[in-house]
Symmetry: C2
Subunit: 404 residues, 2 copies
């Protein structure tokens, strides 16, 4: 069953659902996805408070004060931060007030310390303009009952601070989807084994673990397996607490292309086994008991792109994200792409802003040796089906992989 | 000592050095900064290998093969992935070869299985064009002795895969700078305490912990302290294994502005105690035994901007990053900024691409209640010193906070 890329994406997105929620200590929540809509149970600020160190008074009494004609008030109280006023302000009186302390009853303004001269209980106000602005009003930032942070929000620094203000010390976040990674192929050895003739190291699981993390998932390394149905099936069964199972290798047509057989053995229903795109055409997907199986190519270029196009949106949805797709923009080719394209193609590239245009350049080394290209890429060029070679100046669609 | 922002940045950057290196298991290295330049001790691929399942032969022998005039070769060997050839190819012979397996001696091309018909030992090649391209040459991606990944590289998915290829199972990465966080102020309570009159929750430490993580540091929560020199000093001394000490609160002029006194008590040399920018003017910096102390305002807006401008570049340098500054671009105001500006000012904003321009709009709620602005912002507008109010259409410089 060969399918178009868009069909494959739709099949997978329709099969997955968002992960269950879990409570996590707020200090561990950076970059997690909020699993609840947080409503404030209080006003913030919780009381009218002073934004500065100074004196509180009736604002109208000091509006006209100047160094030549100071207004002299009598100090009746001293309100430290964290304390509470013991006296109300009436005509001719003032209270010393610290940054963050509650405004006393009756006061309608605050004047900063630097604009006063103090002599015993007598406080001379030298400049009284704008006194009424120096009060942070109760509920000015947040009102009781307000929906402040929506479910699905990524917890950045501002959200982290806001959740702290609201006392959400253990907010609900979506559990990260757990993704089992297996590299198959009798030529594959673990990365800390000595390299012997005919063998190469398992780089795919490491590359994919980072791609999984970027998509909001948690990778579990199950190691590598030789080209043996029972061995691969056994490894997959060993990770029953995972939500998604990704293998690399054994996905294309040929004697040792075993993943289809592994799916049969495990009772995994095959969804498709080829997707019309390059690289990444050989890719299997299956489902069993609501758990998704992806069988990617053993070729790093193909595995990376297949994951990017099929695995990533699916994990983004499972992780509770509101947006599953990377941003796409238009760019202008700064160097040619010389190959004719049959199936839709994705090309590692670097893009940059030049005057008013975004320019984009395919990475030099594409194809099998792709890790160098992927290391330096900040974009993928999308080349539509049945395109001729593309010259300098052609407008192309690009997918942004990171801050460009 | 009040200084200009650029001076403050220079003072801090000159005082900090990059962290020592540590070895970390590769699977834990995602987003870490590589602490060594990695040179390959081998060619990659380590041997000429087949990128597909098929047959290896002398390429010239099959160039003219077609379904009507197949070239028939005799199979002499079977080379599985992970195996090694036992026989050399000579005229008229071929070996079955799997994806990833070594090309046998004498062979100069590979034809995929789909373009052959096999009858016992006789292999009919139906299409022999391009056979010579189906060999991944030893050293094609990486040659022995090549500097493949430079010190200071951020370990993304491609780098992760590359380090695995090279067998770097425990690469050197720079240790993350450890940053102690203390919120001072007698009005501050921990976030899981019940809110009582006159008190507010410690949001600054949570906001800053995320900002520290974004800058490549590791935050340590030391909790909060009342406005008491001894208490704050004692807390700071308790975290002697930290590299940077950040307090919030007690940084501006007034009775309870204690951080300067705390520095004196601890023998911390004051570097400056005011920086000409808004928000974030009240900010102290000090140094003792090569360890940096930052005293930020207790106002979240001021603390966030002071950290962004002073703490972040310093931590980026300490963390081993090559680039310490966020990208800056030009944008066009889509709504006015109505305040006159004296000291250089930073304004939370959202920017977006519209046709050929980047448009930018100041967040609605600025000032004291800033967490809502910060939650939604993807940029900061930089307003130069002594600027008039700025109307719609004004070109402004913006700092990009994340993928825009």
């Amino acid at each position: 069953m060969s399918v178009k890329l868009e069909t494959a994406q739709e099949i997978l997105l329709n099969l997955v659902t968002v992960m269950p929620k879990e409570r996590v200590a707020l200090q561990e929540c950076w970059q997690r996805i909020l699993g609840e809509t947080v409503t404030s149970d209080m006003d913030f600020p919780p009381f009218n408070r002073s934004p500065l160190d100074g004196y509180a008074m009736i604002a109208e009494e000091v509006t006209a004060a100047s160094p030549e004609n100071p207004v002299i008030l009598k100090q009746i109280d001293y309100i430290p931060a964290g304390g509470n006023p013991s006296k109300a302000i009436s005509a001719g009186t003032t209270s010393r007030i610290m940054t963050g302390a509650p405004i006393p009853p009756g006061a309608t303004g605050v004047i900063r310390l630097e604009d006063t001269i103090v002599n015993g209980d007598n406080v001379s106000i030298l400049d009284g303009r704008g006194a009424e602005k120096n009060i942070c009003l109760q509920g000015d930032e947040i009102f009781q009952g307000e929906e402040v942070v929506a479910q699905g929000t990524i917890i950045n620094a501002g959200v982290m601070g806001m959740l702290a203000v609201l006392g959400k010390s253990r907010p609900y976040v979506f559990r990260k989807p757990r993704v089992a990674l297996i590299a198959t192929g009798s030529e594959i050895i673990p990365i800390d084994y000595p390299l012997v003739p005919g063998k190469i190291r398992n780089s795919n699981s490491y590359m994919l673990s980072a791609q999984v993390a970027e998509a909001g998932g948690q990778a579990l390394f199950l190691g590598n397996a030789s080209d043996n149905i029972d061995e691969i099936a056994h490894l997959l069964e060993s990770a029953s607490d995972c939500d998604v199972f990704i293998t690399t290798g054994g996905a294309s047509v040929g004697d040792y292309d075993l993943i289809g057989e592994v799916y049969k053995k495990l009772g995994v229903t095959l969804l498709f086994d080829r997707v019309s795109m390059k690289p990444g055409m050989p890719v299997l997907a299956g489902v069993r008991d609501g758990k998704l199986f992806l069988g990617l190519s053993g070729n790093p270029a193909a595995a990376a792109i297949s994951f990017e196009q099929l695995g990533r949106p699916m994990l983004m949805k499972m992780a509770g994200r509101k947006v599953w797709w990377r941003p796409r923009i238009k760019g202008i080719l700064a160097s040619p792409f010389k190959k004719k394209t049959g199936d839709k193609r994705f090309v590692w590239a670097r893009c940059w802003q030049a005057d008013t245009d975004i320019l984009v350049e395919p990475s030099r080394a594409q194809g099998n040796g792709m890790l160098k290209s992927a290391m330096a890429a900040n974009a993928l060029i999308v080349i539509p089906e049945d395109s001729p070679p593309l010259g300098v100046g052609t407008e192309v669609e690009i997918i942004l992989l990171a801050d460009a």
